[in-house]
Symmetry: C2
Subunit: 329 residues, 2 copies
């Protein structure tokens, strides 16, 4: 049996000393926008851990300035959109732009990482899904209630559609360019779509995610569909598309797999805070996931969401070893 | 056929002008701690809408000072625990206290409301579930990640158990006292338990919620078990107890009912932000829920979580009328 592949969301990041050292000199956006630095950061976790994939160091919000929406990362507070989209007229002023040009630094970094990576390690590209990107652009940052986003959907459905169609086109072009540059798989992050009920997902988000997966069908790479909090309507996520569904820890992985069907691979689903648990608790949680999967092919071991900055490096090594050992036994 | 009962979480609150007028003069805690004022606030929505239940105006954190944990509501920021529980020694210093005495103002308000309510309107009492209360006490307020709470569970399981057992005893005594004072149903709010995976729920939260429902079995009132974000393991919530399961909008209500079984009544599950939608969108959403329920007895129409302060009063009237009309047709 092949060993279960393992990689982690935010495997390059603040939990690594060598990353924090770079962050003393460069901002997050400076790291993203400099291909040499982005390459270095992407490769950092690969030097420490026996990971089966690298994910290009970037951020889902990078395409926003090209559309006409500027933002920054405020220290310790996450992203801050300078002028959040609060009116139909603001949405009407947006444009698709030229993502292949305005995001060239990501494409260059992909090429550079690809040349440095060992053959057996896959390089994953990614983008934010339309709903999640729209929610940042409308709320202005992270939101608990998504009140403004939902009001835009309900009160201005035409503007919502215009915004989502722009995001679809940008995302398709961006992901195709990433694949052309060397990405061997791409992940679509719909991190906040779990705020929607099933009907709203079907009406306001799913059609646009579907368009993206549909447009990528002629590309010969796997597509990973990431979401959290969607245990109530996983079938719809599967229907929207993706050769792999990435699920969070809020649903047992074997039940998630029953719901999406055995023709779909599944990625997940360790709780990120489990890495702060004592070694025996962490190991039990990793083994529980592997036992639930029960050797079924098509499982990619990962977290249900990204690493927290407080993650101890030893826990990461322990998981990688445990997954590889177990799946070889 | 009897009409579908309808009430709303946070039906007394800031979306009502008459409530905001009182809040100019009194803080939230002053309103809660004065039985006459709490009675007035509890009755306010009943004067406007043809609701089938009143819920006593109170807050799930009110029992905390009696246990040894002080807090306040910082303006616009939600609850702020003065000295969050960050160490086992802090937990060791807590005590059950005398909830029947320290929360006498709630019990008095229940008696007063009961005397004023028409016979056909039920009065609902409530308390926070142990996991949700513990998370506030440990995090110090609302949390996105529940990092400190989960670390306490994983790293100090004995202290966690001590804390949860104190909360069980306080909650059982508090809810029994509410029932003795005139509450005709009680709701246990496990608002944040959806942050846990199924295994963690089973190990760290469910046993304590179960103890509470078990202890209330000899009381002759319905018990409502409220949670959000638990679509991945609703069966466990049902197993923990409650004659009614209250589910949020992240799972279609007919699928939720299949999962918890037809021997359990179900409450829910309109998206609170739907009340900000245009009348036709709101009506469609209300009718969708009623159609999914399909006349099955044991449905209580409610939201999936509480009203937001921005809720328009006209939307509330529209829902109440729509539910009563539909279920009479």
């Amino acid at each position: 049996m092949d060993r279960t592949p393992v990689w982690f969301m935010r495997q390059a990041g603040r939990y690594l000393k060598e990353y924090r050292e770079l962050r003393v000199k460069y901002s997050l956006l400076e790291l993203c926008r400099n291909p040499e630095l982005a390459t270095e950061v992407t490769l950092q976790p690969l030097r420490r851990f026996d990971l089966d994939a690298a994910i290009i160091f970037a951020d889902i919000l990078l395409p926003l300035p090209g559309i006409g929406v500027d933002f920054e990362f405020a220290a310790g507070e996450g992203p801050k959109i300078h002028r959040p989209l609060r009116s139909p007229s603001q949405i009407a002023s947006l444009a698709v732009g030229e993502p292949e040009d305005s995001l060239r630094f990501v494409l260059e970094a992909i090429g550079m990482v690809r040349r440095e990576l060992p053959r057996q390690v896959a390089l994953i590209g990614f983008a934010g899904a339309p709903f999640t990107l729209a929610s940042y652009m409308i709320e202005g940052g992270y939101s608990r209630s998504f009140l403004r986003t939902k009001k835009m959907m309900y009160l201005h459905p035409n503007s919502w559609r215009v915004l989502m169609e722009i995001l679809v086109e940008v995302t398709v072009r961006y992901l195709k360019a990433q694949i052309a540059a060397g990405a061997q798989a791409v992940q679509l992050f719909d991190s906040w779509v779990g705020a929607l009920g099933a009907d709203d997902y079907r009406q306001y988000a799913m059609p646009y995610s579907s368009m993206i997966f549909e447009s990528l069908k002629d590309q010969s790479v796997p597509t990973i569909h990431f979401s959290t909090g969607t245990a109530g309507y996983l079938e719809l996520l599967k229907e929207a598309g993706g050769t792999v569904q990435s699920v969070d820890w809020r649903i047992p992985i074997h039940l998630a797999w029953e719901r999406v069907g055995t023709d779909t691979a599944i990625q997940g689903n360790l709780e990120p805070i489990a890495l702060m648990a004592p070694p025996d608790v962490l190991e039990r949680k990793v083994l529980d996931i592997l036992k639930q999967v029960d050797g079924r092919p098509g499982h990619i071991f990962n977290l249900g969401h990204g690493f927290l900055p407080q993650t101890p490096v030893e826990s990461v090594s322990a998981i990688v070893e445990c997954v590889h050992e177990y799946s070889h036994s």
